[in-house]
């Protein structure tokens, strides 16, 4: 097995076709080469880093990718890498170390590129592998917050109409109270020690195709509408007021989405770090998919750096940082 690490723009068309086929086969998806290329180029560096494993006859066995992102850690800007797009073709899965070998190649390469930390949000199957084989560490399980608007549609109940009328009324009253409350009191998120560098460049790259980005005065929010098994879901990715997460910005974002999209459900997935009464925190047992955040430090850092990273309270991490939707 040969492993190569390449930047997005260094991969030729034939290899892209193999990557796309391998990914689509592994996850039963229908992505195109171009979707991958655009996605991986749409980063703060203009490219991503890809580890590619080839067998002795040059056939692609697997691939995994690191997407560069700027983070602010205790006021210092540094480059992190978010892992994603990983697969090993079925034929090669008896060699359980292909994935860890690809990762090791990425570690060596990305360390030279000044990436300090790898992050990942592995799925159920690869979570244990990340801990045992890649020696990554678990930080937190990303929280879900929800506002069901058409509850009957969500649970597909026989009493859909009645439940929907009830939940529409309830959510309307809740939002009215929140709108009023936000005039009296605005809760501001406590500053996090670790957060993405939100600047114009990041926002331009992160929320390009498929996202709705709204800016009104000091308020800024981004969301995406996704139809999931007949449920119109509004994923709220980002809500800021003067570059800070506030309860007032959240209220405004939810009001906007409700009025303009008429969703069945509004979801925010991530850390909030402020008081709010708009969305209900979903108990861990009820989340549709557990989203564990894992990390590893690439270069030698002080123990205090590790301590900062390993503390879940230090992180501002959510769907804006990664996107599984």
């Amino acid at each position: 097995m040969t492993i190569k690490v390449l930047r997005t723009n260094e991969i030729d068309q034939n290899t892209w076709a193999s990557i796309t086929n391998g990914f689509n086969e592994s996850f039963d998806r229908v992505k195109s080469d171009n979707e991958f290329i655009v996605y991986y180029q749409n980063t703060v560096l203009g490219y991503s880093f890809h580890a590619l494993a080839f067998d002795d006859s040059g056939i692609l066995a697997g691939s995994t990718t690191i997407i560069p992102q700027y983070y602010i850690v205790n006021g210092v800007k540094m480059l992190f890498g978010l892992s994603g797009g990983s697969f090993v073709k079925k034929k090669f899965r008896s060699d359980i170390f292909i994935f860890s070998d690809m990762f090791e190649a990425l570690r060596l390469h990305c360390n030279k590129e000044n990436i300090k930390v790898f992050l990942g949000v592995p799925n159920k199957n690869s979570y244990e592998y990340s801990l045992k084989f890649l020696n990554q560490k678990h930080i937190l399980d990303i929280e879900y917050y929800a506002l069901p608007i058409h509850f009957g549609t969500l649970i597909n109940s026989k009493n859909k109409y009645f439940l929907n009328v009830f939940s529409i009324t309830f959510s309307f009253l809740l939002q009215s109270c929140n709108s009023f409350l936000s005039l009296l009191k605005n809760f501001e998120a406590l500053p996090s020690k670790i957060s993405l560098l939100y600047n114009e460049d990041f926002i331009k790259h992160r929320f390009s195709k498929g996202y709705k980005v709204i800016q009104t005065g000091a308020f800024f929010y981004a969301y995406k509408m996704v139809n999931e098994n007949g449920v119109e879901t509004a994923y709220l990715f980002y809500y800021h007021e003067n570059n800070k997460k506030t309860s007032r910005a959240l209220t405004k974002a939810i009001n906007f989405v409700r009025k303009n999209e008429n969703p069945d459900l509004i979801l925010f997935i991530g850390s909030m770090h402020h008081t709010q009464f708009n969305l209900f925190k979903v108990p861990k047992k009820r989340v549709p998919q557990l989203l564990p955040l894992v990390y590893e430090v690439l270069s030698d850092f002080s123990e205090s750096f590790e301590e900062i990273l390993s503390n879940d309270k230090n992180w501002d991490f959510g769907l804006a940082n990664f996107d599984v939707r």
Partner: protein, 74 residues
């Protein structure tokens, strides 16, 4: 050692337990995958209270190799 072989074989759903001896090269079974490897790690943790790593599995080709690593960590 017999018990270890028995516990080890239980982690494989499709391979008959009779195919396992202490000399068996388990990575050659068709059923071998990262999920089986993780099951073995979990079994060793639960039964022997020993934490195996991915590297331990990489270093091992037979059951005896795993057994010796487990013994050395006990």
């Amino acid at each position: 050692m017999e018990k270890f072989v028995k516990h080890f074989a239980e982690q494989f759903d499709e391979t008959d337990a009779s195919e396992f001896t202490i000399e068996t090269r388990f990575r050659e079974f068709e059923e071998w995958s990262s999920l089986t490897a993780l099951s073995i790690i979990a079994m060793v943790d639960e039964v022997y209270n020993v934490k195996l790593t991915g590297d331990d599995i990489r270093k091992s080709s037979s059951l005896l190799d795993v057994y010796n690593i487990v013994k050395s960590k006990m």
